[in-house]
Symmetry: C2
Subunit: 477 residues, 2 copies
């Protein structure tokens, strides 16, 4: 394909995507296919001779679309939102076209420098303490990770290295293995599974801190476990606080937890993967109070800030904590500026070496929406979740299971778990809307997450009417 | 931005990218900017009010382009290639538009199933042993990772878990920490820095195996180290063989190493990040002989197979080895098909949870080039590297430093390292072409990698004439 054909096909693809969005409401949100549906539809092996673009595009509609879960349908209320916006799509085309790999400053200076500045912009938008910003000569700064899982892993590893070095300098007789075997990390029993996974990967113990009846971790709960573990000879080194847990969007009490971590020499990381985007609105910023005690903070603009996946924003107060944990510098990756102090080589901040030019997406989205446009978008979602909450509250058969703070409503039929499992099954089998469940303590709960960029009151009303009718059918049966 | 404006702006962006490629040869391959150049060019914080697309696009030319290293310029000979092709760009637009997040089968069945089948296609293209393919009821299969670094890390972690469980079942008195402290992984002294990093992350010892005078690891070298380490009470568990090392594209001797690893219960992973793409050509497939002994294999279509970053292909013989190492299943990620045996939930195969629909890129590229088109592309690059090699060999002032097998030529002026450092400096400062160096033993060496999709003989001839003239200037000075 030459540039002339690319111009033609590229424009056809742009139209295909525009058509897709215009007609998305008519597509069934969750597919009918069964596991293994795709293999029989396509050849066993790649073709020897080239095929034309038109044949491939035809197959997209025939083979791919029947198996797509439409995350951007206004009838999609599952998981959490994943971002989608036109400015981000445009930026991604540019990023793909340039195709530079920004593992070091020299590998593409613009790629690295725009990222540092965009993370400063975003940090200011949520009013992060200045220590987290790079500025011209700060010690902190931000980086784009692929996912919150990677942010948690990277900070846990940095904390692990830092702690091993500290303990070894205080107790030179201890080996690294001795220390590793005593290290223990913590997170809420409501924290995302990726936190437990980070512990598994890093080869350290990871323990749940019991959350209270609001599903939040408070200072006394952490203190109790720390006391037990210190007494047992363990070395607490990392606490991952969650703002906006995945099951029910609860918030750990940073203002109690932060001072404990600081006093006890424990790295506090904050995972605000979903909720973080809301902090651009002054009325939600109080949820982030206490971030000043943290060593690192992360949230996902690719969830709720209209920057398409992947774009997980992470900040640290001391970037040397990250780079010290990972730095390896083979000659083929060195460049003449790297020791200048002015330069950021992001490969030392992350697990992979290669990285795309993802900050373009942030730049396009922040400029083409403006802070006000982004705030409006967040507020619309929160308003819609309260609209749904009120509909649930008006129906005596149902109960709300956790406080509705942002765009997630946890609800269930008053009654057994089996009853609620049956309700969810009938909802998802009807294919008109799509939800996923969670457990809150022993209860099976339905999660209703406001997800789509184009979801409006009319879709919320439709969804509730539909759920309510299915509940009636179920209760009558 | 509504769909009408997206149609318009999307097409303008397609034209911008087409123009970029048409004029790429005229852009200076390596930028003139100094560290910190970008920050003064843009505002301190995000705008409150939205800005127009035209203003943003104007700033791309004004602010971004002056700081871009043009990886796809035909004058770019640094690092290794990073893939770029129009079919992949088109697929990425589609992937961005659909914007589904395929962490589980249910989250988007097409996203998971196309990936499994594409990895089978690609496995067949390089004639991987059937055990690595998923097929309809195989135990193996492939997955797209973000980078070779992640593939190495994931397999090392899987091997770690598998070994700990085995050793514990044989020696129930040993704790996990005891075993961890004895585990040792290996790779060539020529292996990529990401292998050492995987060891650091996984909290295990990692040792270099000395390569021979051809920079390859042979069986006897591994055997010697294994013997020493077993005698010292260590537990060897993982060996990462490299096919196509980063410094000089050398190949470890799989046929000697594989049987040793199999006999000694050591997981053999093969990192063929760059070289792997060449195995689609029958004349290069012999370089992969011995893969039948490996537990896992990885190469990067995003390097040399025209599938834009990121797309790192990894296969395992037993996918349960991966999933057993990581599996955590919170309720909100469970779905009714997951225990059916037919379903792949790729979140258990990787570090992050979220994942884009990257297999579309493979599907578009494989179909629109055909296997023959891809083979032609590989062969063109190999031919050009031999053309450059011959130019070097004809100049008595220079020497070739390692066998030229694929698209990389390592060369230097006969003489001191300082002389060669000065030569590289003058090459990169002239800004007409871009190279990076490496160390081969004590020697400072220049790497000339065939990178661009559009590079032709004329660019090779130009590059050599330029290098040769700069060498003359240097030697005369």
């Amino acid at each position: 394909m030459d540039t002339t054909e690319f111009r033609k096909r590229g424009k056809e693809m742009v139209d295909y995507i525009a058509d897709y969005f215009e007609q998305l409401e008519e597509r069934q949100v969750y597919p009918d296919v069964e596991p293994g549906y795709l293999r029989p539809l396509i050849p066993d092996s790649a073709p020897q001779e080239p095929e034309g673009f038109e044949d491939v595009l035809k197959d997209v509609e025939r083979i791919i679309m029947p198996g797509v879960t439409h995350w951007h349908s206004p009838y999609f209320f599952a998981y959490f939102p994943t971002a989608s916006s036109f400015p981000a799509l445009l930026a991604d085309v540019l990023s793909g076209g340039l195709g530079c790999i920004g593992f070091s400053w020299a590998a593409s200076p613009a790629c690295t420098e725009l990222e540092t500045v965009m993370l400063d912009w975003l940090g200011k938008m949520i009013n992060l303490p200045e220590e987290f910003l790079a500025g011209k000569d700060g010690e902190g700064g931000g980086v784009i990770q692929g996912s919150a899982s990677e942010a948690t892993l990277v900070t846990l590893l940095a904390a692990r290295t830092k702690t091993i070095r500290r303990v070894q300098s205080e107790n030179p007789e201890l080996t690294e293995a001795d220390i590793m075997s005593k290290l223990v990390a913590y997170a809420s029993d409501q924290a995302h599974s990726s936190v437990e996974r980070a512990g598994l990967i890093g080869g350290v113990k990871i323990k749940n801190i019991p959350s209270d009846d609001k599903f939040t971790v408070c200072g006394s709960a952490l203190k109790k476990v720390l006391h037990e573990d210190r007494t047992a000879g363990l070395i607490p080194f990392f606490f991952c606080a969650t703002l906006g847990t995945t099951p029910c969007c609860s918030f750990d009490r940073l203002l109690e937890l932060g001072p404990i971590c600081n006093k006890e020499n424990i790295w506090m990381h904050i995972d605000a993967a979903y909720a973080g985007s809301a902090f651009i609105c002054p009325e939600f910023r109080h949820l982030l109070n206490g971030v000043e005690f943290a060593d690192s903070f992360n949230f996902n603009p690719h969830k709720w800030l209209l920057v398409n996946f992947d774009c997980s924003a992470m900040w640290v107060k001391k970037r040397s904590d990250l780079t010290n944990a990972f730095k390896l510098d083979p000659l083929y990756l060195q460049h003449c500026h790297q020791e200048s102090g002015l330069v950021t080589d992001y490969r030392h901040w992350q697990i992979p070496l290669g990285r795309r030019f993802r900050s373009l997406k942030m730049w396009f989205v922040f400029r083409m929406y403006g802070v006000k446009g982004l705030q409006e978008y967040i507020r619309k979602h929160v308003k819609l979740s309260h609209e749904f909450e009120n509909l649930v509250l008006q129906d005596k058969r149902f109960e709300i299971c956790a406080e509705v703070t942002l765009g997630l409503v946890c609800f269930r039929l008053k009654g057994s778990n089996e009853l609620n499992e049956a309700l969810l099954k009938s909802i998802n089998e009807a294919r008109k809307i799509h939800l996923v469940p969670c457990h809150l303590r022993e209860k099976f709960v339905l999660r209703f997450a406001i997800c789509s960029r184009t979801v409006e009151s009319v879709h919320i009303q439709f969804a509730w009417k539909h759920i309510s009718e299915l509940a009636t059918e179920l209760l009558n049966a």
